[in-house]
């Protein structure tokens, strides 16, 4: 099975900071890491390879330092990596990003299975995966919480819905976005990182794509206009309850129920 995992470099801290003046996300290149959700996609790819054979390839889009996460993926067991990078791809919204990725994927190879994390910790849209499948014209299943089995031409997966789990058989080629905790991601290996430190990475710029029309990429290809970015309000309200154990238990039960933490 030829597997591709799409990964992204995101800010190193899980607390994303927004510049209060410009409203732009503060990105510090020195402090960047692989999107935590992508670790689960990569782990899924590596487990499938271990069980069913094949290769695990990784693709990312970003400025040249984003290569770091491809090497990190090699240290976890990925076989081959490619970087999509060009200033002309900058400022892309989800539409332009997914179009660029789909172009890069076509350039990179033919894949039976494309895996993405559920979302990223910086953009948080959860739209890029499904849009890539749309651009490639292949089926997509989101929120996959379990892989039930693999056949020659298809994969059987459980998709988590808000109240149900739907089991689906999807023909290859297809794209899955996987849930957090589908598997516990392995840690990068020091030995593998030494072995793969000089492995070549393919780099694709605009001129490498089959569609070289600049208007389809970056800011030019992005219908989304960002008006303002601001951190969400956080609430740290606390209340103290007094009463007997029984009263407090009843009250706690009612609260959890009203907040829909329990059914």
């Amino acid at each position: 099975m030829n597997i591709l995992v799409c990964i992204k470099q995101v800010p190193g801290s899980n607390k994303v900071e927004v510049d209060p003046v410009t409203g732009v996300l503060k990105r510090n290149g020195a402090d960047a890491k692989m999107n935590p959700y992508d670790l689960f996609a990569l782990e899924t790819g590596l487990r499938l390879k271990e069980q069913y054979g094949g290769t695990v390839n990784v693709l990312t889009m970003g400025p040249p330092p984003a290569k770091k996460i491809l090497y990190e993926a090699f240290a976890m067991g990925a076989d081959k990596g490619a970087l999509i990078t060009d200033r002309k791809f900058g400022g892309a919204d989800v539409l332009a990003t997914s179009y660029t990725l789909s172009q890069g994927i076509k350039r990179f190879g033919n894949f039976d299975l494309i895996l993405c994390g559920l979302q990223t910790t910086d953009g948080d849209t959860a739209q890029v995966g499904p849009e890539v499948s749309e651009q490639l014209g292949i089926p997509c299943v989101c929120n996959v919480k379990q892989v039930e089995g693999v056949e020659d031409d298809s994969i059987l997966v459980d998709m988590e819905m808000s109240e149900d789990v739907e089991r689906l058989k999807v023909s290859f080629p297809c794209l899955l976005t996987v849930q957090k905790d589908i598997y516990e991601p392995r840690l990068p290996s020091y030995k593998k990182s030494k072995e793969t430190a000089s492995r070549d990475i393919e780099t694709y710029t605009l001129s490498d794509m089959s569609d070289t029309d600049e208007h389809h990429y970056g800011l030019n290809g992005s219908p989304t206009q960002v008006q303002r970015i601001f951190p969400p309000e956080s609430h740290k309200a606390r209340e103290t309850w007094q009463g007997s154990g029984e009263e407090l238990a009843d009250r706690m039960y009612s609260l959890l129920k009203s907040q829909k933490f329990i059914a």
Binding site: E184, R186, L187, Y190, K191, S193
Partner: protein, 467 residues
């Protein structure tokens, strides 16, 4: 020995004259949890629980108890493991959990002033949010800082940063007669007479009652990386530790763990550990200001591990990678506890180059006497946690085998020039082993000190060194 007076309704009325009745629990009002600590099989109810909110209340309670010869037992979060907070003589239990305020962060002197009931996890969050670091890191994060001071708690960072005693600048204490006293101060150096503060630290509430502490802080290291190192055997894993220490790269933590304990933790947490290729692991942590600085430290360590037969070195360099590893490590005690019906523990500390000899001895011992024994611990500082599990043994057989296992392990630790407790303390249940392990002259000195601090022996009687 003079009998202790038991608390009566009249005593309660008098005490309720100087502190709120609703913060006093008497007789039937006392919940079962006040009768024991987290592990010890010892159980005894206090007659009165006083949930104090100020030093003055502690002072008045102590003066009253001293005058009427009532035993006083201090209690924090009740997470102790040696029965130190069990009210053997009933009397008054002073519960510090409402004295849970951070009083001052002094950024000029790098100190934090706290009440004794602040939980360790709250304390850490408070300082780390502000860019400071309180290094002592015992596994039990829901313990109170007062309890940590009373046992001189250690934890995982002792190998680089030391233990609780190294981070206490000053204590406010209440003596047995109710006198309030400051010991030490916000000073970095101190050569002014006997260090009474250091004497109170680790005294398990037998010398004085801690009502306030000024703790030393460090700047928070900006980055940390943990290395999980799988080895084919535990012997190889532990045998590597002295070489790591010799190489002077100073990890902040060096822990060892075995597959069987990791499996217990997986079951307990309902979450898989990120690796399953080996039977034994070392877990190392390095801190510093940049990833490059840290990588330069661990490169050499990684090579040493590989030379000693490590299968690989796994790098946990982000929060989401290190959290599952340390969460598993932090759950070991609870996980082992959940895997059996009852257990008892040994918290010996041996010289670092003797850890392997001790662990090997424990492995042989469990074969020999036929009881399940599990262990993990701080390979970097020689402090081991060994748990003897009852499973479905009948009471008499359990007591029998437990006694044999305990005696043999303490004797072995003594032979290796170790000490009875690395960080959990002596309390009630480790007293016989302390008595056997220390020279009589040391015990005589300890008892003399106890008599000077607490002539009427009202403070936590029967604990540590007393008959």
């Amino acid at each position: 020995m003079m009998e202790y007076k038991q608390i009566t309704k009249e005593d309660l009325d008098i005490i309720a004259g100087f502190m709120d009745r609703e913060r006093l629990l008497f007789g039937e009002e006392i919940n079962e949890e006040y009768s024991h600590d987290e592990l010890a099989s010892e159980k005894s109810y206090p007659s009165l629980v006083a949930r104090v909110t100020s030093t003055e209340e502690v002072s008045k309670l102590m003066a009253y108890a001293n005058e009427h010869h009532i035993a006083v037992t201090p209690r924090g979060a009740g997470t102790g493991l040696v029965g130190a907070s069990v009210a053997v003589e009933h009397g008054i239990m002073i519960d510090t959990t409402l004295m849970n305020h951070v009083l001052e962060l002094d950024e000029e002197n790098l100190t934090l002033t706290v009440e004794p009931g602040v939980l360790l996890m709250e304390l850490r969050n408070y300082v780390e949010e502000r860019g400071f670091y309180y290094p002592p890191d015992p596994g039990e994060k829901s313990a109170t800082i007062g309890g940590n001071i009373s046992t001189n708690a250690g934890g995982m960072t002792a190998v680089k940063y030391g233990v609780t005693r190294d981070y206490v600048r000053s204590l406010e204490v209440v003596l047995a007669d109710g006198t309030i006293m400051q010991l030490g101060g916000k000073v970095v150096k101190n050569s002014s007479g006997y260090d009474l503060k250091d004497m109170v630290i680790g005294s398990e509430g037998t010398l004085a009652f801690v009502t306030k502490a000024i703790l030393k802080l460090l700047p928070l290291p900006k980055k940390s990386v943990s290395l999980l190192v799988p080895f084919p055997t535990l012997e190889q894993a532990i045998g590597t530790v002295p070489l790591i220490i010799q190489a002077k790269s100073v990890p902040t933590a060096i822990e060892f763990m075995e597959r069987e304990v990791i499996l217990d933790a997986e079951e307990y947490l309902g979450r898989k550990f990120p690796d399953n290729q080996a039977d034994a692991y070392l877990l190392l942590k390095f801190d510093g200001n940049t990833m490059e600085e840290i990588a330069s430290y661990y490169d050499e360590t990684a090579q040493i591990c590989l030379d000693q037969g490590a299968i690989d070195i796994l790098i946990a360099d982000t929060e989401e990678r290190s959290l599952p590893v340390w969460k598993t490590r932090g759950a070991f005690l609870e996980a082992i506890k959940a895997s059996t019906s009852m257990m008892d523990e040994v918290d010996v500390v041996v010289p670092r180059n003797k850890v392997n000899a001790f662990v090997e001895f424990v492995h042989q011992l469990r074969q020999e006497i036929g009881i399940r024994i599990k262990s993990f611990g701080h390979a970097g500082d020689g402090n081991l946690h060994v748990y003897i599990l009852r499973d479905d043994l009948p009471e008499d057989k359990w007591q029998d085998l437990l006694g044999i296992a305990m005696n043999r392990m303490y004797a072995k630790a003594h032979d290796l020039r170790g000490q009875v407790s690395g960080e959990h303390g002596i309390g009630l249940v480790k007293k016989p082993y302390l008595n056997e392990s220390l020279p009589e002259a040391s015990l005589v000195l300890m008892r003399g000190i106890k008599k000077v601090f607490d002539p009427n022996n009202i403070l936590n009687p029967h604990k540590v060194c007393q008959a």
